[in-house]
């Protein structure tokens, strides 16, 4: 009987895809293992000890495409280090303190597309040899000590899409430093975390960017002055909780925005001095404006001209009343976010009425408490598709709680205490609702009409709700959900499920019953066992009769991990089936024996029991 539990302690690389992809992460290796096949395309060699790279280091791995050398203590990259690796696309050198890169350090690959030199101690761009970098698409130079952006004439621009200089020491940008970037199009340029003190006027003139990130800069007027006549899709001007607050914004500081072509701006965590309509006068053409955590409690009611704004993000502010966002100023909004409001947010009545185009509304984590919800509050929002009211205090749902919600596809009420105050189903008009999240909403699961009318519901999440006497009866609130495919009932303190509980749910494909107190695994309750996913992890199941398992078709997956499974002959049915159906098992690592003591902790797949041929024989002839 081989019941040994052996933890394989091994300094060998892990095969991810046979002959193609290997991970040798953190094995203390001092060279590339001889055993890696020459066909290897993807190699994660991070957190080892290489010290120097020579032309012989990778010479056997001629098919390498992706090479991750993160934190290998590489100091020296000698001539032709990658000369044998014609197919190499990606080299990651993050966290190596580079002391020397030979002129031909990167020569070899026919089309090197991604080069990551993050945190490699660079102080100067000239340290990097530009030979054979012409095909770069992304170039990561973040978290170094580069103090000048002077791009050499040989800097790769042909295919460059992403250039990351975040958290360097760049303080001044002169036009001639970056004139080579005129040859790029739709570049994303990250200058976040640099202490920009001066940009020469016109330095970015005629450039066409996709995104420009100046996050964390001290004085955004310096940036805006330098960006005159620039075109970019996105301009990130915010700052961070762990960065300097920077100079507060007054209306004149934003005037320079009138000469910048941009549709998406973030001003996260900036302070506004005198937030008036004037502040917005050069924001007219914006389609998206992010004012997360800008310490505002009121948007000026006389803002005008913001007709193009489609997305407004007001998260982490301090509105007392939702009318204070002055929604009439933003008639074209399709997306509105007021998450994590610092005050109890009063939803008022009809404050968003004019937002007839609104599709997404996120009011989560905002201390909302409403005893008469929610038709008045959401008046006029007949186009609403996604509504997030999760993580609020409590809501009392009235009859037809979302009266104008006929177009709602997603409704999230998780972690908000719900009181149902409706004689009929509060959701019964939500015919298009696709996803309903009621997890930890403390709903009364005895209300049989609760889910009435949700004829298109695909996913129902009831995690953390309780059922009377811990049982899901045959007669239950799920009967009215003909389209339901996914059902989450984890953490519901369930002890039993009646035999016909889910028989009406013909389309049910994914059921999560994990973290309950179920003592029996049964497939009887489900009407359709073709390619079903059943998660029974973390329950109290000891024994599973083989006939409960045999009707699971080939596409099905079950998870039985973290149950007190018995590895005795009384459970030979499960154990025999298990070993023959490993392809149907999720988390075999966590699926271990509990009894007898001698086998406790042994993976089910490794256990062989001496129960006699006859037992297996009987099972086989069933």
């Amino acid at each position: 009987v081989s019941c040994e539990v052996s933890e394989p302690i091994d300094t060998m690389c892990t095969e991810i895809i046979a002959n193609k992809s290997y991970s040798c992460e953190d094995l203390g290796l001092r060279e590339i293992p001889e055993r890696l096949p020459t066909t290897t395309e993807i190699l994660d060699f991070s957190f080892n000890l290489l010290s120097s790279l020579h032309n012989s280091t990778f010479s056997k791995l001629k098919n390498l495409v992706y090479l991750d050398l993160t934190r290998c203590q590489i100091n020296w990259v000698y001539e032709g280090a990658f000369q044998s690796n014609a197919h190499l696309n990606i080299i990651v050198l993050t966290g190596n303190l580079l002391m020397f890169l030979a002129d031909t350090a990167f020569v070899g690959p026919q089309s090197l597309k991604h080069l990551v030199l993050t945190q490699t101690g660079l102080t100067n761009l000239a340290f990097i040899p530009m030979q054979n970098l012409d095909n770069l698409e992304t170039f990561d130079l973040g978290s170094n000590h580069i103090s000048s952006l002077q791009l050499p004439p040989s800097f790769p621009t042909r295919n460059l899409k992403y250039l990351d200089f975040q958290m360097n020491n760049i303080q001044r940008i002169a036009a001639k430093d970056i004139d080579i970037l005129l040859q790029t199009k739709n570049l994303t340029l990250i200058l976040k975390g640099n202490d920009i003190m001066h940009i020469e006027a016109g330095a970015f003139q005629y450039n066409l960017f996709y995104s420009l990130d100046f996050g964390g800069c001290i004085d955004i007027s310096v940036v805006l002055a330098g960006m005159q006549d620039t075109r970019t899709h996105t301009l990130w001007l915010g700052t961070f909780e762990d960065a300097d607050n920077g100079i507060p914004i007054n209306p004149t500081m934003l005037l320079n925005l009138c000469n910048i072509s941009v549709v998406d701006i973030s001003l996260q965590k900036r302070h506004f001095l005198h937030l008036t309509a004037a502040t917005f006068q050069c924001l007219n053409k914006l389609q998206r404006l992010d004012l997360t955590h800008t310490y505002i409690s009121m948007l000026p009611p006389d803002i005008s001209g913001m007709n193009m704004l489609e997305e407004l993000i007001l998260n982490r502010n301090a509105f007392k009343h939702i009318c204070n966002i002055s929604s009439t100023a933003f008639p074209s909004l399709t997306h509105l976010y007021i998450r994590e409001n610092a005050e109890n947010l009063d939803l008022g009545s009809g404050c968003l009425e004019t937002l007839s185009k609104l599709q997404h509304l996120d009011l989560s984590h905002s201390y909302i408490e409403n005893l008469d919800c929610c038709s008045n509050q959401l008046k006029g929002l007949s186009g609403l598709q996604h509504l997030n009211l999760s993580y609020n205090k409590q809501l009392q749902l009235q009859d037809l709680a979302f009266k104008e919600g006929a177009n709602l596809e997603l409704l999230d009420l998780a972690f908000t205490r719900l009181h149902i105050n409706a004689s009929q189903g509060p959701f019964r008009n939500l015919h298009l609702l696709h996803v309903l999240n009621l997890s930890y909403s403390y709903i009364d699961t005895n209300i049989q009409h609760l889910l009435q009318g949700l004829q298109n519901l695909f996913l129902l999440n009831l995690r953390g709700n309780k059922f009377q006497s811990g049982t899901i009866p045959n007669e239950n609130l799920f009967h009215q959900l003909p389209s339901l495919e996914m059902l989450i009932l984890s953490f519901c303190d369930l002890t039993a499920i009646q035999n016909q509980a889910f028989h009406t749910l013909k389309k049910l494909k994914h059921v999560d019953l994990s973290h309950n107190k179920l003592i029996a695994f049964s497939t009887d309750a489900f009407s359709n066992l073709k390619s079903i996913y059943l998660n029974f992890a973390n329950n109290r199941i000891h024994i599973i009769p083989r006939d409960m398992l045999t009707n699971l078709s080939g596409q099905s997956i079950i998870n039985l991990s973290y149950n007190p499974l018995e590895c005795t002959c009384s459970n030979i049915g499960l154990i025999t089936w298990y070993k023959q159906n490993m392809d149907k098992i999720e988390d075999p690592e966590g699926t271990v024996c509990c009894e007898p003591k001698a086998l406790a902790g042994a993976k089910l797949s490794t256990v062989t029991l001496p129960c006699g041929i006859n037992v297996a024989g009987i099972v086989c002839t069933v």
Partner: protein
């Protein structure tokens, strides 16, 4: 809390009536933390130093804090620190292998440390639920 003995027990402070120790519960690395004067913890803000090397990207980063008394979790607190569309901290979006260092003030908003001996388990994890940092703190207060 992990049972690993791989990493040493670190002393954050050891004063008359307050002792704080911690131990990394990350299988692959130790955790570096230092507080400038333990008694300051009860102040509104106090200064810490903390450092770690990322073993995974943190496009998303969440924090989970668990207060454990006699082996039972009696309080859980979790918070998202980074999301692709909500980069609250400048380190959000950093990648595997990067060194993250914070040195400066922290506000806990605790005005009393309850008496007794208990464990606070703190864990940071990323979008794939991979451990970014993990430490179990033992707190003894007389």
């Amino acid at each position: 809390p992990s049972l690993s003995t791989k990493w040493p027990m670190h002393t954050v402070c050891k004063e008359n009536d307050l002792e704080i120790y911690y131990k990394s519960c990350d299988p692959v690395q130790d955790f570096a933390l230092s507080i400038d004067g333990c008694s300051n913890i009860l102040m509104n803000t106090f200064n810490i130093r903390a450092a770690l090397v990322l073993r995974h990207n943190i496009k998303e980063l969440s924090m989970n804090i668990n207060l454990i008394l006699n082996g039972k979790s009696i309080l859980t607190y979790s918070q998202k620190l980074c999301e692709p569309n909500g980069r609250r901290f400048i380190f959000c979006g950093k990648k595997k292998g990067e060194h993250i260092y914070y040195e400066g003030p922290v506000t806990l908003g605790i005005h009393e440390i309850p008496q007794g001996e208990y464990t606070v388990s703190a864990m940071l994890y990323n979008e794939d639920h991979l451990t970014v940092a993990c430490a179990d703190f033992t707190i003894k207060k007389e």
